[in-house]
């Protein structure tokens, strides 16, 4: 029966139908729902790994054992997993293995706009690239066949618009592939130089065979057009924009196998049209391939390498008219994302801003601590970089700098790659102060469990990693826990740990206010008689507080009664309702 499915859900359905039995991933927008949806199938073992490298190695282990496997991540996660990626390209697999990677052109929720297709080429691993949900399902299934036929892991590349668009899918049955029991094959799986030297030629031969396959695979297709003045070579969501604009006017060669690309099929297509136009998001990846074949193309000289494409951009570049609705003659204030009312990060960031500290930030909801009025963060690079970064920063700075610098990192991000940085802090003895913002969940990606929450992906209770013990075990002697709703406690802890002559960890602990089990107190109220409009309460950037009619006002539908603003008011104008 036809269903609407997110591209990510459709890929998960493809995994299910192909008999996949093992999924290990780290959440990351826009890839997260592949794994969440896969976890809903009883037949699939699915887990959140602490990071993408662990996930990929676990998925490889499962494939080695004979079970079709999958690991999923966002584009920057593939950087973390790049180490195993390049070498499992050499070993090949036993049962099929798929690696899902979701790019984020337009940076809706990411720190950069890297194009993952380059990984396929440099790791010499085939990559399929669906353009909608139906293809997400079909390509995932076909990718397992490619994986086993050519003895290689296969990348399935998504992007925000394919991952997070629902389109029509017709699900099928789950069909289990024949069993592939593990057989000891040292020359294939022990990648020490002698063996690896023998595997590299195998990889190069495999790419040749895959290039032959690319000539005829149903993943690539030509859609005829009425005019041959222009022919368009495209892939992924760009294909949708092209078809939206040109319909069946120009022929289109759509590549569903992003790597390796065919040679003859592209040459033949180019020869059948007067002008070859390549429409692709981000880098000129297909374009470079065409230029290597000596073909003259219109590409990144016309279409930007920056941001997403859209049907209007494609229309303008191809000379079609576009219209626009009325633009209002009034300034519309932007509405950036903000920390939620009741967010436990707020009190801690207020403390950091108040003490005018240099703050090494990390990746998560708390990156919003960089936004006015808190504006409390100096750097955000990648997962774990706060802890490693502060170490180098302090080693290279005047010793006094250690009394005014902290690193902040979330619980999930700390487990991902903060702990290795902390080991460096302890081992190489920098006087760093690390604050772990433990909100008991992976927040930004939409509430995924992690090793510190005590629950696994399927929702079952499991071993809970104890952050305090972990920090002490790696050699940090000063470890303390604070409640970020208590401003004086936060202030005292931060001041004392900055003064200490050794590294410290402060765990700022309170669960995310959006978690269902978190009970909120009654909203605070404002006594307008007492409010002097000093605007102290405005310094924490709480969306529930505003100044209306010259007095502070609290939106009772948003306020969670956290009481942080109450502690800032010197006139007792903000107060919790009296308990009856």
């Amino acid at each position: 029966m036809k269903q609407l499915m997110l591209g990510n859900e459709a890929v998960a359905r493809g995994l299910y139908e192909a008999g996949c039995g093992f999924v290990s991933s780290y959440p990351g927008t826009p890839s997260t729902e592949i794994t969440e949806a896969a976890a809903k199938y009883q037949e699939i073992y699915a887990e959140w790994a602490p990071n993408e490298k662990v996930a990929m190695e676990a998925a490889f282990g499962a494939a080695l054992a004979g079970t079709r496997s999958f690991c999923g991540m966002k584009h920057v996660g593939l950087n973390v997993a790049a180490d195993p990626l390049f070498t499992i390209g050499y070993t090949g697999v036993n049962a099929g293995m798929l690696i899902g990677v979701a790019d984020d052109a337009g940076m809706h929720s990411s720190q950069n706009e890297q194009d993952s297709r380059h990984y396929a080429k440099s790791a010499k691993i085939p990559m399929v690239e669906p353009a909608d949900s139906a293809e997400g399902l079909a390509f995932a299934k076909l990718a397992y066949e490619i994986s086993e036929r050519f003895d290689t892991p296969v990348l399935i590349k998504m992007c925000t618009r394919v991952s997070h668009s629902q389109s029509v899918v017709e699900p099928g049955e789950r069909i289990m592939p024949p069993a592939k029991p593990y057989e000891k094959t040292p020359a294939k799986y022990i990648m020490m130089p002698g063996n690896a030297k023998r595997r590299h030629p195998v990889v190069e031969e495999r790419t040749k065979a895959l290039t032959e396959y690319a000539e005829t695979t149903p993943l690539n297709r030509v859609e005829p057009g009425r005019e041959n003045t222009v022919g368009i070579l495209t892939a992924s969501t760009s294909y949708q924009y092209v078809k939206e604009v040109v319909g069946d006017r120009y022929p289109v060669l759509k590549l569903g196998l992003a790597w390796p690309m065919p040679v003859k099929a592209i040459r033949d297509f180019a020869a059948s049209v007067e002008k070859l136009v390549v429409v692709e998001e981000l880098d000129g990846f297909i374009e470079d391939h065409c230029r290597n074949l000596g073909l003259d193309v219109v590409g990144k000289d016309t279409f930007s390498m920056i941001d997403e494409l859209s049907q209007n951009i494609v229309a303008e570049k191809l000379g079609y008219p576009t219209v626009s609705g009325p633009k209002l003659d009034v300034a519309i204030p932007p509405r950036p994302p903000v920390m939620c009312a009741g967010c436990p990060h707020r009190g801690l960031f207020y403390t950091l801003a108040k003490n005018k500290l240099t703050v090494m930030g990390d990746i998560g909801c708390y990156t919003l601590g960089a936004v006015a009025p808190l504006a409390a963060i100096d750097t955000t690079i990648c997962m774990g970089a706060s802890v490693s970064g502060i170490h180098g920063f302090l080693k290279a700075s005047d010793p006094e700098q250690s009394k005014k610098t902290v690193a902040v990192i979330g619980d999930s991000t700390f487990m991902h790659s903060g702990v290795t940085g902390l080991i460096n802090v302890a081992y190489n003895e920098s006087n760093s102060t690390i604050i772990i913002l433990d909100n008991s969940i992976t927040g930004m990606t939409g509430h995924q469990q992690n090793p510190t929450t005590g629950f696994n992906l399927k929702g079952d209770p499991c071993t809970k990693i104890d952050l305090e013990s972990l920090c002490r075990a790696v050699g940090i002697r000063r470890v303390r826990v604070v409640d970020p709703y208590n401003l004086s406690e936060c202030d005292q802890a931060v001041k004392e740990e900055l003064q200490a002559d050794e590294p410290s960890v402060i765990i700022s602990r309170r669960p995310c206010a959006l978690l269902k089990y978190v009970k909120h107190k009654a909203p605070l109220t404002v006594d307008p008689e007492k409010c002097k409009t000093c605007k102290m309460c405005m310094k924490i950037g709480c969306p529930a507080i505003s100044i209306t009619g010259g007095k502070a006002q609290i939106d009772a539908t948003l306020c969670t009664g956290c009481g942080v603003c109450e502690q800032l008011c010197k006139f007792d104008a903000l107060c919790a309702p009296k308990e009856v």
């Binding site: 909608d132 209007n312 609705g325 209002l328 539908t557």
Partner: protein, 190 residues
């Protein structure tokens, strides 16, 4: 049939995902090719959010571009004004009159523009504005603003009330169904 385009805009956390789920169910039941495009992640934290719903005989692009929306449903007034350039000539804006201050307004760095319904109408836009928050509260929960507005949107399309109700039943948990049905009817009759 030419592809129809509906944009659902609002503030992260206002329930646009449920609204688009409802529309998706309705359109699929009518056997249209349908695409619904959402944004997850960072912008859900109280930021400006937009969902694109497209349906017709064959839909390619999952997004709606400037000048293409037949209808923009806005859960908040400022958000309606933000997206007017996406309206097709002759398109309609169905909006909540509720105002939610964005952070630059809260901090005093910017002002919330006054008389936005009039500004939009003066720009030649057909605006259909209702107090959806009041109706949602009347239905039993301020959170039902999304369904009130879906009810009001339904007046601009030819689908029957029974078809909408059928889609609603498939989109919300049983314990909230009565509340949401009430919210839908209040919106449809507003």
């Amino acid at each position: 049939m030419e592809t129809k385009n509906i944009m659902i805009v609002g503030v992260g956390g206002q329930g646009s995902l449920l609204a688009s789920k409802l529309l998706g169910r309705l359109l699929l039941a009518k056997d249209y090719d349908t695409k619904v495009s959402e944004v997850h992640g960072m912008s859900q934290r109280g930021g400006s959010v937009v969902t694109y719903v497209r349906f017709g005989d064959k839909v390619y692009s999952p997004i709606i571009d400037k000048g293409e929306a037949d209808c923009i449903v806005s859960f908040e007034l400022l958000e309606a004004a933000r997206w007017t350039e996406y309206l097709k000539p002759g398109g309609v804006i169905v909006t909540n009159t509720q105002q939610i201050n964005p952070m630059p307004v809260i901090t005093g760095a910017a002002e919330y523009p006054a008389n936005l319904v009039k500004t939009m109408t003066d720009a030649g836009i057909q605006v259909d504005a209702i107090d959806a928050l009041k109706l949602a509260e009347e239905a039993g929960s301020s959170k039902a603003v999304n369904i009130v507005l879906m009810g009001h949107l339904s007046r601009h399309f030819d689908f029957t009330e029974a078809e909408w109700m059928d889609a609603l039943e498939k989109s919300v948990p049983a314990k909230f169904l009565e509340l949401n049905k009430k919210a839908f009817v209040l919106g449809r009759n507003a």
